[in-house]
Each structure stands twice: as C-alpha cells, then as structure tokens.
Amino acid sequence: MSLLSAEWTALLYLIAAVCFILALKGLSSPKTARRGNLIGAAGAALAVITVFLSAKLDNIPLILLAILVGSAISAPISRRVQMTQMPQLVALFNGVGGGAAALVAMLELGHSDGPWVLVAVVFTMLVGAVSFAGSAITVAKLQELITTRPVIFPGMKWVMTLAAVAALVVGGFVVATGSTGWALLLLVLGLALGLLLVLPVGGADVPIVISLLNAFTGLAVAASGVVLDNVLLVVAGTLVGASGTILTRAMASAMGRGVSGIMFGAFRGGSTAGSTVQSDRPVRSSNAEDVAVMLAYAQRVVIVPGYGLAVAQGQHTIAELATTLEARGVAVDFAIHPVAGRMPGHMNVLLAEANVPYESLKEMAEVNPEFKNTDVVLVVGANDVVNPAAKTSPGSPIYGMPILEVEEGRQIVFLKRSMRPGFAGIENELLFDPKTTLLFGDAKDSLTKVLGAVNAL
C-alpha cells in the first residue's frame, strides 16, 4: 500500500532529519539534553511510520513481529541495566546497528546496478561488519570476558595489512561481478578486520573506540542510504558519522591522546610495559576507625571517585559521608577526572543520582592546584586516573594522560578491593608511598564503616 505520494514521503523524511539535527544540538547542552533525546526518538518514530505508509511492502506481519521482538528485547534491558554496564550496552546497540546495515546492503546486492551503487554496497558491508565485530570485542573487554590488556601477537601488523588489502581486492571483485559468493567473503574479512582493529586496544581506551565505531556505523548507514536511494538514511548516517568523529577526537584529547595512538599505539612497542604480576612490596593498610579520625579532624578533604565506587553502588554512602563531614566543619570536594569510570562523565551521572550538589564536583584543571592544600585525599575505587606513572614513566600505556595530582596531597587514603592493578593493567607507585594509607574491601562496605566511625567520634 502506498498511501503517501513521493512528495509527502520526502517531506516527512525531511522533518525526521531535522528532528535528528535538533536532537544532537539538544544533547550538547545539559539543560536541553533530555528533550533533545525525545525529539530524536519522535523523529525516528515518524520515519518508521512514514516507511510503512509510503513503500510497497510485502511481509508486513512478519516485519511488525521482528520489530516487536527487537523492542521487547532491547527496551527492558535498557531500563534495568546497572549504571556500571551502560557502556557495554551502548557498544552492543552500536554493533547490532552496524550488523543490520551490513545485512541490508548484502540483500540489496542483487537489485543494485551502476558502479557507484555497488561501491556503496561494498562500503556498507565492510564498515558495518567491522563495526559489528569491533563492538563485540569492546563489549567482551568491558565485561571482562576477555583480558582488558592490549592483545597483540607477532606479525599482527602484517596480518592486519593483509586482511585490509584482501578486503579491498574482494570488494573490487564484488563491484565487478556482483556475486554473492564474493560478498560473503567480504563480510567475513570485515568481521576479521573488526577483531584485529580492536584487540590491540588497551582497556582504558575502550570508550573512545566505542565512539569511533559509532561514527563508523553512521557512515555505513549513510552508504546504505545511497544503496537504497533513501535521503533520510544518507542524512542521518552522515550526521552521526560527522558528529561521532568530532566527539571521538574530543574524548581522546580529554585523555591527552591522539586517536591513532589509541588504535595503533600497541604496535609501536613500549606500551606493553607494566605488569600483571602483583607486587609484594609492603604497603600501609589501616582500619575504618583510623581513616575516620583522619577525615574528621582534617580541614580540607578531596574525594576522588572511580569505577570501584560505581561497581559497589556506594554513591549514596559517599554522599552521606561528605554531608556528615561538612556538618563537622570539614570542607569536602569531589575531584572528577573526565574519564574516571568506564565512560566520560560516568562519575557526574553517578554522583548526580546521589544528589551530590553540582558545585562540589570539581573538574581536573580546577582541582589539581588545590591538592597541595588538601589534608586528606580519599581515593574511592579509582586507580589509573591518579597514577603518577602517566607523568613519570614514558613506557607506560597511560603515559601522557592528564591525571588528578593526588600525590600532592598531605595524606592519601585509598579504598580498594585488592592490590590488583587498575583497568589499564599497570601498577600504581602511589600505593607504596609513605603518606598513603590503604583500606581494603568493597567500596560501599568500607564507606559504611568509615561513616559509622565518624558518627561515633
């Protein structure tokens, strides 16, 4: 059935495209972010209704069923997933989107003619497959199903080059012959390239890779729009490709890295420094009562939250501890590293949930000069973002990343589960510093004990 003329269809797609632009614009500012997201969702809904009313479609009941299945799986997961697992979920959605684009292009191979359309088919399949496989690896790394350290093997660089060249050659065959056999081989090569591209990336850089793959999927969707001669797909895909590229660069520069350094840094050698073996050098560990005394009789305390706090769901406890200390006259601030946790802005979201006032959250540039006037720095479940190796050891994978300079503080307290190194897999010298005290245990348990001890003083 086509209830809508071509003109009306084009007009409604234009409205949907404008909605997507407004969505991205809205999402760039805290005040309008939520509304922006809803505008984007409305645009998407409009586009899907339009396609049902305008295109001549068979199999409509089956299509509706597939949409129902897709929604029934994704919506409940999105609602229930833990804050700590959100980055994985975003990566997963990105991967399936890339996979869908690759499948769409492959199915259109038979209907496509003209060299440029076939080039677009090849591009969509290849980039979609890379995005699918690459996202799968990022999910596995974030879930710690596989090691978070860079995975490289001898000759990997050559295998990768070979796979890339093979993909281009096979892509050329697909354009020349339009054969399904070559197209399937192209899909396999794309998946292999995705794996090879993401395996060498170290754990701490994974969020940036997710953002890059997000831009890739956008480009694949744009190319699928060329294949299907659908201007909405071209506009929406290009929009995501362009904004995703800018966002990836912004995220990388927040960590003091270049995008190519993140993707290919592991091949340049040196960056595999650091060890998984735990050191048995002596550290000073303490109990909750001692930590409570240090905190309660300090004038100025800075709390550095990290992924451990998110895992333990300790945000409400730490907010209460901050309020309690402030009631005793201690000045308390939170120092937020831009990439603390598993995604940029993770800590802001977490602490906002616990009603920590916005003014207490200090950004890195603002708080770094204040550490030397701080009596106690309380590091809760953070490690890599306070590791001085980023400034002092050029061989370290995190070398060059701006860190919170907690080593300037008069005393440092680490709440940690164990001596295990952080996500980047490197040891933190600061743990062995004479002014450092460690309190082992789950972040929430430790905070609850410290809070109890402060109240008992």
């Binding site: 869908a100 499948l103 927040a254």
Partner: protein, 102 residues
C-alpha cells in the same frame, strides 16, 4: 537521486554534524555518543524496505534479522540515553538559584 545532489546533501550534512557538537562539555560526552548511536538505528527504515521486497524465505529471514537488530539499536539506544539523562535531574534542588553553567 543524481550524484551531484547526493554529494551536496552529504557535504552540507557533514558541516551540520561538525557544527552541532562542536562545543560539548565532557560531562555530556557519553549521553551524546549514546544519542548519536540511537540515531543510526534509523537503518531500521532501510531494513523494512528491503524486507518488504523479498520472496525467498531464507532471504526474508535474513532481512527480518536485520529488522530486529536495527530495532534493538533504535529503541534501546533512545531508552538508555533517556535513562542516563534522567540521572542528571537530582541536582536542581541542591543548586543555588543563580545559574552557574553559563
């Protein structure tokens, strides 16, 4: 669509894409990435068009898989972004009346 019109649309869209996100604070990096991620779920439109034109049952099955995956990307993407942004609400009562963001 003729190639020149297509190229025009793509080039202009690239500039719009660069422009709309050029001044975003690091706090919003993740929601923005997640929102952009949801937008490319619009491949659903392409998947529906393809699925509606096929006769071979196996190919229909592949197309329906694409429809389901694209729906997961689109619906899940917007829901998870909304949930992320929902957590930013709490700070309003605690903040001072004077707006410090701008």
């Amino acid at each position: 669509m003729d190639p020149i019109t297509l190229l025009t649309v793509i080039v202009l869209t690239v500039f719009v894409g660069f422009e709309v996100v050029s001044k975003v604070s690091s706090t919003l990096h993740t929601p923005l990435m997640s929102g952009a991620n949801a937008i490319h779920g619009i491949i659903l439109v392409g998947a529906i068009i393809v699925a509606g034109q096929l006769d071979d049952p196996w190919l229909i099955a592949v197309a329906l898989l694409a429809v389901a995956l694209a729906t997961a990307n689109l619906v899940g993407g917007f829901v998870v972004t909304d949930r992320m942004l929902g957590m930013f609400r709490g700070r309003k009562p605690a903040a001072t009346p004077k707006d410090t963001t701008k």
